[in-house]
């Protein structure tokens, strides 16, 4: 989860990729947080462009079969709730509702800085702290191609690996798997629910399109 600032992709691609966290602090407000987190979860679940949600404590994400009602019962003394959205209007909508709910739980949005700051101003919020990504350093030669990183970095704890991604890409390119089915499979190892399957479907579809064009040509 500490990795969400490093989600790989161009500005254009990241316009459809926002992650959300409600995070309790073990030093300040985790005790008795259950009702507040359940309120936050209900607000998140109302959004139509919610793609996925979960938390490491739940062991699996919505894409992997997490039941929202059962999940809600696990939120006492929890770290928080996480999820991802495919458009910025959903971020605007939940921030408005969360401001009215005033739970006092820390809320973090990961996405394009300028877009998130503008939304915050629009809804009357004052962003507090930013966690900026200064990129990947060190032995960069071992990294896979950018489009693979665009998929694998969507898992906050890198449970979605390069080999699985490449295997799914090959199946999609060969027409043996749809981009949607590929995305669903890729999302299985990520328990936190910030793996954006709508974005990964678009990336897989781009591979499929290229493969089709190549076979025609």
């Amino acid at each position: 989860m500490s990795h969400a600032l490093h989600r790989h992709g161009t500005v254009e691609q990241l316009q459809n990729d926002y992650t959300f966290y409600a995070r309790t602090s073990r030093y300040v407000n985790r005790e008795g947080c259950g009702p507040k987190l359940r309120k936050i979860l209900s607000i998140v679940l109302e959004e139509k462009s919610l793609v996925n949600f979960g938390s490491s404590h739940s062991g699996k994400s919505y894409e992997a079969g997490l039941n929202p009602e059962e999940y809600a019962t696990t939120l006492d003394k929890a770290y928080g709730v996480a999820g991802c959205f495919s458009d910025k209007e959903a971020v605007r909508s939940i921030l408005k509702k969360l401001k009215e709910a005033d739970t006092g739980i820390s809320i973090v949005i990961s996405g394009l800085i300028d877009e998130v700051v503008k939304i915050a101003k629009d809804v009357g919020l004052k962003p507090h702290t930013a966690f900026l990504s200064l990129g990947v350093h060190g032995k960069r030669a071992v990294l896979p191609e950018d489009r693979v990183l665009e998929i694998t970095t969507m898992c906050g704890h890198h449970q979605v690996g390069t080999r699985l991604t490449k295997a799914v890409v090959e199946r999609v390119k060969a027409g043996k798997m749809t981009p949607e089915a590929g995305s669903h499979l890729l999302a299985q190892p990520c328990p936190c629910g910030i793996f954006n399957t709508r974005r990964s479907t678009a990336i897989l579809a781009s591979y499929r399109k290229e493969a089709s064009a190549g076979s025609v040509g």
């Binding site: 490093h6 989600r7 030093y27 770290y79 930013a130 449970q159």
Partner: protein, 240 residues
């Protein structure tokens, strides 16, 4: 993790799920290179083994190998931190903890990310440089618990060869130290035998801007266009 050779039928369905690609084929069956395995457990949780041949051996739960799962499986809690994941609240709760204040920057090196993993030796290389500088190491962080000698910047010798999926080294600097710290660390990171995702936590200015972005650009480490942003909705809020 380990694969029971008596149960494995050699289908290799598990191999694709390994985030560090250490499940190999041998004698018609799958086996795990246990020196490279980070004990994340993804292979077993994938549920693709028809004979349930994948398991965590007892020694993976013993010190020092036990740190592999703690730093690789988000469902395993870090001892003393009382939380899973990467074990740090970093800036997610900064609006209520005041961990990073105006005039300060938080820095976080996530070793092994994305997707490579790291030996603890690589963390020690950077730690030794940091302790010779005037920085404040974050103590409420799982990596700090592995420090052997904080003045020398050494980790406990028995953990050095352990491999994990990722581990985050966190520290804090004063505003005026930024340029010197970045210039000192860039060549150190470049020589590592793994990758490091570099993060910098900063308070927004009163007018909602992030003045540090221009300084980072000038230093040759420009901030990406996306970031994590604490929206300032925690209460009671720490404004300083």
């Amino acid at each position: 993790m380990r694969i029971d050779p008596d149960k494995c039928m050699g289908c290799m369905e598990c191999a694709d799920f390994c985030p560090v690609d250490c499940i190999l084929e041998r004698d018609g069956g799958a086996y795990i290179d246990e020196d490279e395995c980070v004990e994340c457990g993804v292979c077993a949780r994938a549920g693709v083994c028809p004979n349930e041949a994948i398991y965590m051996p007892e020694e993976a739960t013993q010190w020092p190998r036990v740190i592999r799962a703690q730093y690789s499986d988000p469902g395993v809690q870090h001892p003393a931190m009382n939380q899973g994941g990467r074990g740090t609240e970093e800036m997610k709760t900064n609006d209520v903890t005041g961990r990073f204040r105006r005039g300060e920057f938080g820095m976080a090196f996530e070793f092994g990310r994305p997707g490579v993993g790291t030996r603890m030796t690589e963390i020690e290389k950077v730690l030794k440089v940091l302790v010779a500088m005037d920085v404040e190491l974050e103590q409420n962080n799982p990596v700090f618990l592995l420090v052997d000698d904080v003045k020398a910047g050494t980790l406990k010798p028995e953990v050095l060869r352990e491999k994990v999926l990722s581990a985050i080294l966190e520290f804090k600097i004063r505003d005026e130290q930024l340029e010197a710290v970045v210039k000192k660390l860039q060549p150190v990171l470049a020589e590592l035998d793994t990758v490091v995702s570099w993060g910098l936590a900063t308070r927004f200015a009163e007018d909602g801007t992030l003045p540090v972005r221009a300084r980072l650009q000038a230093l040759g480490v420009p901030a990406r266009s996306n970031a994590k942003i604490n929206m300032g909705m925690g209460r009671p809020i720490v404004e300083a």
